[in-house]
């Protein structure tokens, strides 16, 4: 069975405000799809309609070709979802909470027990398995929420900003978990506005803004289509570099298509080409002996695209 998620004309209005405007999107197959957009773009609204937490004003959401609105229970049976940052009853322990999830999903007791141990280990919560939730930090609760999402080994995994509340190590662990899940025949659909996270784990991206889908494509296609191969890199120098030096010596290096000043010691340089072109430009700037101390990609290509598309949509 090929896992799939599909929105057909999915629309949500809150009074006169349209949070999501006729979203038509189908994602299927074993892959990870990043659902991007600024705050208020309609990401969480979409995911809530996929889990029947809110109801569409128009349209329908499908999980594995089953309508969530018409057959909620069947549709959600093969889906694990983490929406916002749920709370779990304070007097339960993670093990009991996962037992409840397993029982509601119809898992056998032995399977629940073994999977509970597995997923709690996966989210590094084994040693807290029998402590009550009331004592947990936000990050610890979020780890258990992720564990509950994975407990039933679902075909479709929906994650709404799963890194919320986690420290940097926790965020890295979430990325690692998602990468592990990718290779196991699942469809992972997760919303985020942390672009580095999306670049790190996603195969495809869909961008929404103001309730409308701006594009949906593979990460490679998006990058190629919108950047035309150029990237922006920041160069940092030990001492101030004059405009005349930059114009005469850096801007003339083959592959450099433009520059702008960040401050007196830092420049943003546009380089045409991929990593090889950047390596050549770096070597040549270093050879100028201007005191180069740092050279790194200023923003990811996706970030450039994101900001450009969002600002276009806003205007």
């Amino acid at each position: 069975m090929t896992p799939s998620l599909e929105a057909r004309g999915l629309t949500k209005r809150f009074g006169s405000f349209t949070a999501l405007d006729h979203l038509d999107l189908k994602v299927d197959g074993s892959k990870c799809v990043g659902f991007l957009g600024p705050n208020g773009a309609g990401k969480t609204t979409t995911l809530k309609m996929f889990t029947d937490l809110i109801f569409p004003s128009e349209g329908e959401a499908f999980i594995n070709d089953i309508s969530v609105q018409r057959h909620r229970k069947t549709a959600l049976a093969s889906c694990g979802a983490l929406i916002e940052s749920p709370e779990i009853y304070g007097s339960l322990t993670p093990r009991e909470a996962l037992e409840l999830v397993g029982a509601v999903r119809g898992m056998a007791r032995a399977e629940v027990r073994s999977r509970t141990d597995e997923v709690l280990a996966q989210v590094k919560m084994s040693e807290w398995a029998d402590q009550k939730f009331g004592r947990f930090s936000k990050g610890m609760k979020q780890r258990v929420n992720i564990a509950s999402t994975l407990l039933s080994d679902p075909l479709v995994v929906m994650l709404d900003e799963p890194s919320t509340g986690l420290d940097p190590r926790g965020m890295a662990e979430v990325r690692s978990i998602i990468r592990d899940l990718k290779g196991q025949g699942r469809l992972i659909f997760f919303s985020s506005h942390i672009l580095s996270e999306v670049v790190d784990v996603c195969d495809e991206v869909a961008l929404v803004n103001r309730g409308k889908l701006l594009f949906y494509d593979t990460l490679a296609n998006v990058t190629a289509r919108f950047t035309h191969g150029a990237t922006s890199v920041d160069a940092e120098f030990l001492s101030p570099v004059s405009d005349s030096d930059v114009t005469a010596r850096i801007a003339t290096i083959p592959g450099v298509t433009g520059w702008s000043r960040l401050d007196d010691r830092r420049l943003s340089v546009m380089v045409d080409g991929g990593p090889a072109a950047r390596a050549t430009v770096l070597e040549q700037i270093a050879a100028l002996r201007l005191g180069l101390v740092g050279f790194h990609e200023s923003r990811s290509a996706l970030e450039d695209i994101y900001l450009r598309e969002i600002s276009t949509g806003d205007s």
Binding site: K26, V27, T51, L53, I54, V104, G106, A108, P154
Partner: protein, 289 residues
């Protein structure tokens, strides 16, 4: 928008069948009941029962009022009916007040409602758990009173009408919880739900009943609190007979009403049905925005 895609590999192991909704409701009630038993609210309810029992014991043992300790009708009519009436309201508020509103306010609903479970299963499971937790505390009070009565009256402490009254009190509890769940579904704030129900049952309905009977001179058949008088009336049936439906004081001209057995039960069952269905419909339509 669609991207063509290769199907995934074999895919994760698929689950067994998701249980029937009724079974899921029972599962929900089991975990919710466990949550109640471990919570401070259960201790709070037991404390309330304990305080009431301690005060009653001290006062009755010290003054030994003969009118009370010689007659099981009088004993239970005063201590059981009045005490249980208050305890049922407290239990309903404490266990049911935030049962549904809390799912929205505390965001626990996001944990449950993303699962393959129908909303009515969650509602029914939570109702059942609140009912059992409330019943447990009422039974603690009941057992205390029976033991206390037995201390004075021996075997006479146990009578058929007492258990009939207990049954009616349990029926009243089910309707009151339906009412509490209705308001809990209506508000996304636990505080509002608890406040409205507390005000209505502790003061509001009594005031309405007094106004309706005193000023408009009609029977307050539409009030659940009026029907709950049956738990008291039933205690007197074997001794003084069924109280008259309407009594007019010849001196003051004031009229008072007593619900008949069938009428009282009909009001309680009616309340249970409309509040439970109403609350469920509200919960079904409520969005986790």
């Amino acid at each position: 928008m669609t991207l063509s895609s290769e199907p995934g590999p074999a895919g994760p192991a698929q689950l067994g069948r998701v249980p029937e909704s009724a079974m899921q409701a029972l599962l929900m009630s089991r975990y919710q009941f466990r949550d109640y038993l471990r919570s401070q609210r259960f201790l709070l309810m037991l404390s309330i029962v304990g305080i009431i029992a301690a005060i009653l014991s001290a006062v009755v043992l010290h003054y030994r009022p003969s009118g009370l300790i010689d007659s099981s009708t009088s004993f239970y009519g005063n201590l059981w009916v009045e005490g249980a009436g208050v305890l049922i309201v407290f239990a309903g508020i404490i266990f049911g007040g935030d049962a549904i509103a809390g799912e929205f306010q505390n965001k626990t609903g996001y944990f449950l409602m993303g699962l393959p479970i129908k909303r009515w299963s969650v509602y029914a499971g939570k109702y059942l758990a609140a009912f059992l937790a409330s019943l447990l505390t009422i039974l603690v009070y009941f057992v205390y009173l029976v033991l206390f009565a037995a201390y004075f009256m021996g075997a006479r402490a146990i009578s058929g009408p007492l258990f009939e009254s207990l049954g009616l009190a349990v029926l009243y509890l089910s309707a009151l919880l339906g009412f509490v769940f209705l308001f809990s579904s209506l508000f996304k704030s636990s505080l509002y739900a608890v406040l409205v129900v507390a005000v209505l049952f502790l003061f509001g309905f009594s005031i309405i009943q007094a106004l309706v009977v005193g000023l408009v001179h009609i029977e307050p058949w539409f009030l659940l609190s009026y029907a709950s008088n049956l738990t008291n009336s039933v205690m007197a049936y074997p001794f003084v007979g069924v109280p008259p439906h309407m009594v007019t004081d010849p001196i003051t001209g004031n009229t008072s009403y007593n619900p008949s057995y069938a009428e009282g039960i009909a009001i309680i069952v009616g309340y249970f049905l409309w509040t439970t269905i109403g609350g469920l419909l509200l919960f079904e339509r409520e969005e986790f925005t």
